[in-house]
Symmetry: C2
Subunit: 182 residues, 2 copies
DNA sequence: CCTTTATGGAACAGCGATGTTCCAAGACAG
DNA sequence: CTGTCTTGGAACATCGCTGTTCCATAAAGG
């Protein structure tokens, strides 16, 4: 019956991502309820709150890595790679809120500098004339995350479709990083 | 000694904005400590947490209104007005985090649609060719707030100067709302 | 000098979240 | 059917935050 345990555990982690994304201060009872699981069962899988948060961090890192890989940051112009990255990250859904509000959730204690692949992508864009050279690499990173988060929030508050919101995000991000005519 | 009361009260509200901006779940003890005031004194001025939050909301609304007025949204092209609005709002400092994380903090229970003045400004920009007509008014609003918040966070995490961060914000916001060449 | 005013500390009860233990019930495999 | 696995509910102690009361102290003002 080990398949059941894995399924329950995953349901709890998924629910935690969903609920904590909406409210980072949510109680374990809220998370258990969202997972359709008793609070006792949640504690059976994660003795302490910190254990659950660690599992959420691991899951977040895994999903993030998967999305990053699919974006193929090393291909095409810098701007086109940023464009693809936004598309893939947008699919992270409720995880976006969590990553944005809880910086360093899926990062292995790095905290500081950007991912080397990301840096390479933006600097390539600086050289190939598709990303404004005045914008530092980490500012481009802030830009992308804040736009993705804004889009996710916008999706939750308005009647706009997922597709329409993605279009808006891509349009504004592309414009923001574009080399300025003046 | 009524001057002292006003000063203490203001110090508490200011500290609350500062602390709650960094951590919306901060305890009253944290806020009192940040205001260099005993927790007892804080309770003397604000019997319940809700009372303090109401005062913070009022203060936030006042500062927001002041900044809005100074931006003169009705003057110049739509894009230039957005530009000025970003400059003024950036000066709100730590209040930015609070407004961003606690939507509707200083708004008089509106919640829904944008400010009419703001709407007029963006629609003017749509007509005068300085703001991309594909971008809905409330998306422009999301864009501005998310960029201001990102800038404020960037300022706290990096060694960049306030002036430099403002430059980055204005550059990316201007690019994001600009009419696209394609 | 003496009163009023403002403050901070200590102590206390209440509350919600947390973490633990124990037990009963249902599901599944042999 | 029987034993194991998984679960959920109830009860409990604990902890931190909240809100209140009481008292001591220090400063400002008459």
């Amino acid at each position: 019956m080990t398949g059941s345990r894995a399924r329950t555990r995953q349901a709890i982690v998924d629910a935690a991502i969903e609920v904590l994304g909406r409210n980072p201060a949510a109680s374990l009872g809220d998370i258990a309820a969202a997972a359709d699981v008793g609070r006792t069962t949640l504690h059976r899988y994660f003795a302490e709150r910190a254990d659950l948060l660690a599992a959420v961090g691991t899951e977040a890192g895994a999903r993030l890595d998967r999305a990053t890989a699919q974006a193929r940051m090393a291909e095409g112009t810098g701007a086109s790679a940023v464009h693809r990255l936004c598309q893939e990250y947008f699919d992270l859904g409720s995880l976006l809120s969590l990553i944005f509000t809880e910086p360093g959730i899926g990062t292995g204690s790095t905290g500081g500098g950007c991912d080397p692949e990301f840096t390479a992508m933006v600097e390539r864009g600086h050289r190939d004339g598709t990303i404004d050279p005045e914008l530092p690499v980490d500012w481009v990173q802030s830009l992308i995350w804040s736009q993705l988060y804004a889009g996710w929030a916008y999706l939750a508050e308005t009647a706009a479709s997922r597709h329409e919101v993605l279009r808006l995000i891509l349009r504004t991000v592309d414009g923001a990083i574009a080399v300025k005519p003046g």
